[in-house]
């Protein structure tokens, strides 16, 4: 069977995902703009999704792809909620710098 993995090896997908995930992690850690943090989280999420799909193909099992659908749907919902929160934070504080968001302090 002609498999996409025959052209580009599974290890390359894994490396790509690891790099993407690390970019996401460092984005989350280093950036202070809440929207960019958010985008970084999405990158991490999609890195994992990509890995799912890659392994799904590798194992000839559709379950991984099905799972990615769910994960994307949930991510969409989460983005909607998250952006709404950001909007309301911006309305209140005129800023979305996460260093300013210290009202959750215990």
């Amino acid at each position: 069977m002609d498999n996409v993995l025959n052209h580009i090896g599974i290890e390359n997908y894994i490396f790509l995902c690891v790099i993407l995930f690390c970019i996401g992690v460092f984005g989350v850690l280093y950036r202070r703009n809440a929207i960019i943090v958010f985008m970084s989280i999405e990158i991490m999420l999609n890195a994992v999704n990509l890995l799912f799909v890659a392994f799904s193909t590798y194992h000839q099992d559709a379950q991984g792809q099905v799972f990615v659908f769910f994960s994307m749907a949930v991510a969409a919902a989460e983005v909607a909620v998250g952006l709404a929160i950001l909007v309301s934070i911006f309305r209140n504080l005129s800023s979305i710098d996460i260093d300013n968001l210290k009202k959750l302090k215990g």
């Binding site: 989350v28 850690l29 260093d99 210290k102």
Partner: protein
């Protein structure tokens, strides 16, 4: 009809208690007292009705109120048993109770808490009636505990004095020791016979003749019950609370600590005579304990200077004589002495109360004297009662004490000697009390002398009634008529000691007892009237007198033997065990607090830090998963 009237009998004092407790403050002092007295009078009238009825029909009345406890084949009902014994007891509990309530109206009139005094007194009468009329041991136990509570409340009635509080606590704790014995005894009986009902118990024990029931356990039960009786009736080794109980107001001493409550032990033993008859070993213990108590208490009484303390030791001593009679199986004799003792001892206590009242609270006989002229009625009534308790013919004490001595003589000469010695001493210290209080010159302050007066009629009336009873009480069981013996015969069926054939021995014994009493009085007369001696001041007392004056140092010995070790143990537990335990518990709390205090700082609201923590966490988890494989 009967059951309703019986309920009235029992509940009237309780109603009086409720009224005085809840509305006492808004009532005037006299009204409060009148309500208290009326409640007891109602009980007395009801008792009288039952008593007359019983004397006509000779049938005990059993009143079943409700099923109380049902456990498997063990059934216990809540009911009353109005038979010869309980009605006799009720007669003097409510009768003397009513007189003492009447007396208290005047005696306690100065006291601002008079309504609670009457409330407690009524509650006491209620519990005492419950104790007496209960148809089984557990109902009796309710009353038994209740009278102990009231005794505690009334001893500590003047609670602002710490010594009185201590006396109250002492009485309560001493009684608790006895009560535990009683309770264990009741449990053993319940286990052995699967019933606690008096009548069923009697038939069970009589029919099986002790065959079905283990003799040893029966003896253990009887002994435990006797410990209970020791506690309540102030016998060695649990007697020390009674003299201290004189801290209570004098009417309380008269009612609770002389006439009624302390006779509960005798009541219980008489009630369960069929049990004690089966255990001769325990009976001899009772007799010996009674005799020794009678002697020891009488010797202590010889040198006491507090007028009420003398009477208290005299009470302990007389109770000892009653137990001697019980131990020898002469239950009706003990009952006879209980009744006569209730008359003259109540009279003596009330008389001493009248004296204390006149002297504004002075109780030391060294500061009295010459009260004869100022208080003729008190003097006369107390004289009659003193003659009665000393056993002078033909007053009541003579007959009852004489019977005890006769029974003792029949069974055991040594016990007779002890009992006779005790009664000679009784005559001595009673007349020492009389001579010091009423004869010669007054030794108090001038101001007291100026205020000397006879007590009001509310105080003297009960005195007169009781003195008449103390005079005539012997008629209950005169040799020849033996009314009391016949009256109690259906209950105490053996009747072994019932009728004395009067021979020379008996007349000789009577003569000896009488002579002993007269010798005692004569010694007291020479010492305190002719030689005008006055007991020494406390610090001048030396030698054996000092030992007696300090009550053989029994309190100190108990303190050293029991109180100190227990205090030591409790201090040990407090200082070490509790410190360790609480240290551990507090330590846990402290650690949690500290962790929380520093952990709190992590939650600083810096989202960047949180995210960093996430990442570190995930890295840690992943590394762990890799390493774990």
């Amino acid at each position: 009809m009967d059951s309703k009237l019986a309920l009235v009998l029992v509940l009237a004092p309780f109603l009086g208690f409720l009224i005085n407790v809840f509305f006492g403050k808004s009532l005037s002092k006299t009204v409060s007292g009148v309500i208290g007295t009326a409640a007891v009078v109602v009980s007395f009238v009801a008792t009288l009705y039952f008593f007359i009825q019983l004397n006509q029909t000779h049938k005990p009345i059993t009143i079943h109120l409700f099923e109380w406890i049902q456990l498997g084949n063990f059934n216990l009902s809540f009911g009353f048993l109005l038979d010869q014994l309980s009605l006799l007891w009720l007669m003097f509990v409510t009768g003397i109770g009513a007189l003492i309530h009447l007396y208290s109206i005047s005696y306690m009139h100065e006291d601002e808490k008079i309504h609670s005094f009457f409330a407690y007194l009524n509650l006491f009468v209620f519990f005492m009636i419950t104790l007496v009329v209960g148809s089984n041991l557990l109902v009796m136990f309710i009353g038994w505990e209740g009278v102990g509570l009231c005794s505690y409340l009334l001893i500590g009635f003047w609670y602002k004095n710490q010594e009185y509080n201590d006396a109250a606590k002492k009485a309560f704790i001493m009684n608790r020791i006895g009560d535990l014995g009683l309770l264990i005894g009741i449990f053993i009986i319940g286990h052995l016979c699967s019933t606690l009902d008096y009548t069923t118990l009697q038939t069970t024990l009589a029919s099986s003749g002790g065959l079905l029931v283990s003799k040893h356990w029966l003896a253990v039960a009887a002994f435990c019950l006797f410990i209970g009786a020791c506690g309540k009736s102030a016998q060695i080794p649990l007697y020390t609370w009674l003299p201290d109980a004189m801290a209570g107001p004098t009417p309380v001493s008269a009612l609770i600590h002389a006439a009624t409550m302390v006779t509960a032990g005798i009541f219980m033993v008489t009630r369960l005579h069929f049990l004690f008859d089966l255990t001769p070993g325990v009976q001899s213990i009772i007799a010996v304990v009674g005799a020794i108590t009678a002697l020891v208490a009488a010797t202590i009484g010889l040198v006491q200077n507090d007028i009420k303390k003398v009477l208290a030791y005299s009470t302990v001593s007389q109770l000892g004589l009653m137990f001697l009679a019980l131990g020898l199986g002469a239950y009706e004799v003990a009952v006879f002495h209980v009744i006569t003792h209730a008359f003259f001892k109540a009279c003596l206590f009330l008389g001493s109360g009248s004296v204390i009242h006149a002297l504004h609270g002075e109780q030391d006989m060294r500061k009295m004297g010459g009260l004869k002229k100022a208080m003729p009625i008190t003097f006369l009534t107390m004289l009659i009662s003193s003659l009665a308790i000393s056993g002078i013919f033909p007053l009541s004490g003579f007959w009852s004490k004489d019977e005890i001595l006769m029974v003792a003589f029949e069974h055991n000469k040594a016990l007779w000697v002890i009992a006779s010695l005790a009664s000679i001493m009784t005559a001595f210290y009673m007349f020492r009390l009389m001579f010091l209080t009423f004869f010669k010159d007054f030794r108090g302050t001038d101001e007291q002398k100026h205020h000397l007066h006879e007590s009001p009629s509310l105080i003297t009336f009960p005195l007169i009634v009781l003195a008449i009873l103390a005079f005539m009480g012997g008629a209950l069981n005169l040799p020849g008529s033996n009314w009391l013996n016949h009256y109690l015969a259906p209950l105490l069926s053996h009747g072994e000691h019932g009728e004395h054939v009067f021979g020379t021995t008996e007349y000789m014994l009577m003569g000896v007892a009488m002579a002993g009493a007269i010798i005692g009085i004569a010694i007291a007369y020479t010492k305190y009237v002719k030689q005008r001696q006055v007991p020494e001041e406390d610090h001048n007392i030396t030698g054996f007198t000092k030992v007696l004056y300090n009550k053989y140092y029994v309190d100190e010995a108990y303190d050293w033997l029991f109180v100190k070790p227990i205090n030591f143990l409790s201090r040990f537990f407090r200082d070490y065990i509790e410190t360790a335990l609480s240290g551990f518990v507090f330590g846990l709390g402290k650690v949690t607090m500290e962790v929380g205090y520093y952990g709190r700082k992590l939650q600083n609201g810096n989202i960047g830090l949180y995210l960093f923590a996430f990442v570190i966490g995930i890295c840690a988890i992943i590394s762990y998963l890799f390493l774990a494989q």
